[in-house]
Symmetry: C2
């Protein structure tokens, strides 16, 4: 199989952290998102939606969504479980993961893509130039992220990890969202002591460097 | 357990179709999204993000994301499988489901929420009044949906269902996206013969009426 990666981007990082937690190491092919390599015909012939990471299986199957690639490796190698172990915990991981992704990571992406000259004309991931910035999305994204961080603090006030008692993919998405938010000069609010405790703890895991 | 539903909304419909395919029937509690019942304190005391559907387990666990609720029931009752059966098919269902959801259903939601008087000040799902409409999202959403329908036609030109040989959650999301798009007066393009063949086929399933 082939795995296409981008060192600076938050979605590929989610996958690298996931693989590090699983103890899976594999060669990766670097694609330069900032330089727009993912928008060019050569890459889109491999991954038509232009997204990273993308996994290409030996039979030619293309899996271009990070959550789908995580599911692939979870099914292939269930230990250690990062997507839950019973109906309730499986659902909680998916649920909290999506809270962090939809309200958090996508919100940061909207702030960055609609305010940074690096993404001029690239308002949507993977879509070649021609999607103009929408300035109002910066405020909307900032408000959504603020709400998301509020929920995160609530969750972490009641449990050690984002989806309960065990480290999971929800923690990975939350961690990557917080680090991605630094691109927009947004950090963990000073009053969010539970989030800071959790952040300091997950920073000690080897996967934090992935 | 308690399941909160909304008859007219596309996300609750995804869950109803999923449950119908599983042969699971249960009582549901109707919440009036158009009337803003999901934005009021009484509902948000149950489901803090104000989303539908929401499943509340007997131990009080709140699962407010439709994909997470589907995962819950898939783990509880694996047959018939709607989320894949081996690493490759599990990954393909997640991947294609997300294509249809992110590029399709969320795009339609942005068109509808940012152009309809019914959603004035409600630019994001579940967030009480105060998120103004952003007119440019109507064009961006329309372009995204058009790309999504193009990919859907490509997928269905190569396989009977959206994620391969078997009906799955990816078909449910695609079907609900197409029906939701009618709210924005967008239908299956006349040249998309594979999509129309598939649509006519899935319309024969009992779950289509859910």
């Amino acid at each position: 199989m082939k795995l296409y990666d981008c060192k600076i981007a938050p979605n590929p990082r989610r996958l690298r952290m996931f693989l590090a937690e699983k103890g899976i190491s594999m060669q990766m092919i670097e694609v330069d998102i900032l330089g727009g390599e993912n928008l060019k015909a050569a890459y889109q012939a491999i991954s038509p939606r232009g997204l990273l990471p993308t996994l290409v299986l030996d039979d030619g199957t293309v899996i271009d969504e990070v959550m789908a690639i995580c599911r692939y490796f979870e099914e292939l190698q269930p230990e250690p479980p990062l997507l839950g172990t019973d109906p309730r915990s499986c659902a909680m991981v998916v649920s909290r993961q999506r809270h962090m992704e939809i309200d958090g990571m996508i919100a940061v992406s909207e702030i960055v893509r609609n305010s940074s000259a690096n993404f001029a004309g690239r308002g949507l991931p993977g879509v070649a130039a021609g999607v103009p910035a929408i300035a109002e999305l910066v405020d909307r994204g900032t408000a959504s992220l603020s709400r998301c961080l509020g929920f995160l603090e609530t969750y972490l006030s009641g449990s050690p990890y984002v989806a309960g008692d065990r480290f999971s993919l929800a923690d990975i998405t939350a961690r990557c969202t917080i680090d991605f938010a630094s691109w927009a000069n947004i950090g963990i609010p000073k009053t969010h002591v539970h989030t800071q405790r959790w952040y300091d703890g997950v920073s000690q895991r080897p996967s934090a460097a992935a």
